[in-house]
Subunit: 320 residues, 2 copies
């Protein structure tokens, strides 16, 4: 009998989500482990991951029916199965980790396919989500970092080396831009990730005296800024306007590249849709060439955040 289930793994900076998925995209069983507590040695992390995969597969009751494993990870390389210089992963920040091979070796040679986490999310949206039926779209993931998955003519763009689609590291602010985790300055990610939003709030609080609910918060996170905005905090709302405008301006450049019919947004920060959407659309339209003004959609993922990445990663495994 043909094997009817796959495993999807979403590797994030803080947590790794694992799910067993059937051919209709239902998640039968899932689990989560930390990504950031194993130090710089990738082996220790992959050991823990392999154990968690075995446990969740056993939990699903489909141990004999797993076809393969798909993995979405920052800087994950589809061609080589490696993760290289991923600033947000402590065990892959400084070199290249032979991830697919390491994981497969710990799971009796189970086949493992790997890509960028944002590419995986794009595949998930194309198969099950708001991008169903779209042949040309750009997925932007707004999480710890800013990731992207670019789909052209119905196919994910991998580039000559498997690393295409690093739009979070295009220049959003060219001069005197913020330092980014990647070692450069002015990257989109330095402004429009969850970390970037928190940083904007902290900078504005420090440089001014405007009253704000956020003055009572220690170690401000993007969630704190969102909560304050929901309570009507003017500074917090302006932080999202600023963030949305930078995103929209960058989207205009992305449109000039591949003329997608939509930008699809996903990730923790995309929850702030109510505050981001309007400034994002306005800034994009102001910066688009005439031929595109009013024609490019910005849509938000409607998949559950954890499911989208798991489903996308799992979709890779069907092709194994």
């Amino acid at each position: 009998m043909e094997k009817q289930y796959v495993v999807g793994i979403d590797v994030g900076g803080q947590t790794t989500k694992i799910g067993v998925v059937d051919a209709r995209g239902d998640v039968l069983a899932q689990s989560v482990i930390r990504s950031d507590i194993y130090g710089e040695d990738a082996s220790a992390y992959v050991d823990a991951l392999a154990a968690a995969v075995k446990a969740v597969v056993a939990d699903s009751g489909k141990t004999e029916e797993i076809r393969g494993i798909g993995v979405g990870a920052p800087n994950g390389n589809y061609y080589t199965g490696t993760i290289a210089f991923a600033p947000n992963l402590v065990w892959a920040a400084k070199g290249t980790v032979d991830f697919a091979k390491m994981l497969s070796a710990r799971l009796e040679g189970m086949p493992v396919s790997l890509t960028n986490d944002a590419n995986a999310a794009a595949v998930g949206e194309m198969t099950y989500g708001v991008a169903r039926g779209m042949k040309n779209f750009i997925m932007i993931t707004l999480g710890t970092g800013v990731g992207s998955g670019i789909v052209i003519n119905g196919q994910v763009v991998y580039g000559f080396d498997g690393f295409a689609g690093e739009l979070g590291h295009t220049n959003a602010v060219r001069y005197n831009g913020r330092a980014c985790g990647c070692g450069r300055t002015g990257c989109l990610e330095a402004y429009c990730s969850a970390m970037g939003v928190a940083r904007t709030a902290r900078e504005w609080l420090e440089s001014g005296t405007e009253p704000s609910l956020l003055r009572d918060v220690e170690n401000i996170t993007s969630k704190d800024v969102y909560d304050a905005a929901k309570q009507g905090d003017a500074l917090a709302i302006r932080v999202f306007q600023y963030t949305g405008r930078i995103l929209g301006r960058s989207f205009a450049d992305f449109v000039a590249f591949s003329a997608p019919e939509a930008i699809v947004l996903f990730g923790g920060l995309a929850r702030a849709k109510e505050f981001l959407y309007q400034p994002m659309v306005e800034a994009m339209d102001e910066n688009l060439l005439k031929i595109w003004k009013g024609k490019i959609k910005i849509v938000f993922s409607q998949l559950k955040e954890s499911d989208a990445a798991i489903l996308g990663a799992s979709a890779l495994a069907w092709e194994l």
Copy 2:
């Protein structure tokens, strides 16, 4: 007998080049007409073009053996055969011209295929030039404007609407950037086209008192700047360094998008290779993510300038 020849047409802001091409890429006969003397009425221009096509085909002696016509034109749309809002074409700056249909109607229904001039050049390089064998590269044309043709997995990227690849209108300078012909500010084209180079020289001459050979030139063009640089003029050399650095920085963003193995440069301004290359490579490498540093080639077209565009456009016609 199968028809063995095609016509390639390269529509530029000032001139239009027409060639009859055989299956090996040899140009049997060619001709040129002005693009900019027919006013805002596209019909007058297309009338003149159709007459020129008939003349050059007659000249080649292959009147009965022409398979079709391929056209490269600014903002040319592969899907619809139209040219829309092309700032550098007086007869197509303010609206949409149904170009392929108009030209075909004047040539007894001869099939006409049309694309962006830079896309056409990319096809030419892929078929006959330095991009032969490359599956992923970005063609940048440095002429009156800055155009681009993006090739991914061996195919030109057209996007959902046929207009993809307008990299000359991505933001090279975000704040207080120069006005661009497209109506926006800070575009790459406003700095790194032939017009941009001349403008940089004029601005620097006006704002300073540094001696320069260019002070004796009226209505400075990019060619004047190039000639002065060749004579060792320090200001002219710095103009190219400035231009090269802006290009290189933008290339880094393009690489983050599609991870091409090379950026291929072509066009009048690319002749200034000796002054542009070093600052371009340095600025690109400074701005690339670690994974790409030192790995992306910048190469210059080696096709004759007029041939590359004619050959590229003609290649479209083989698929008719």
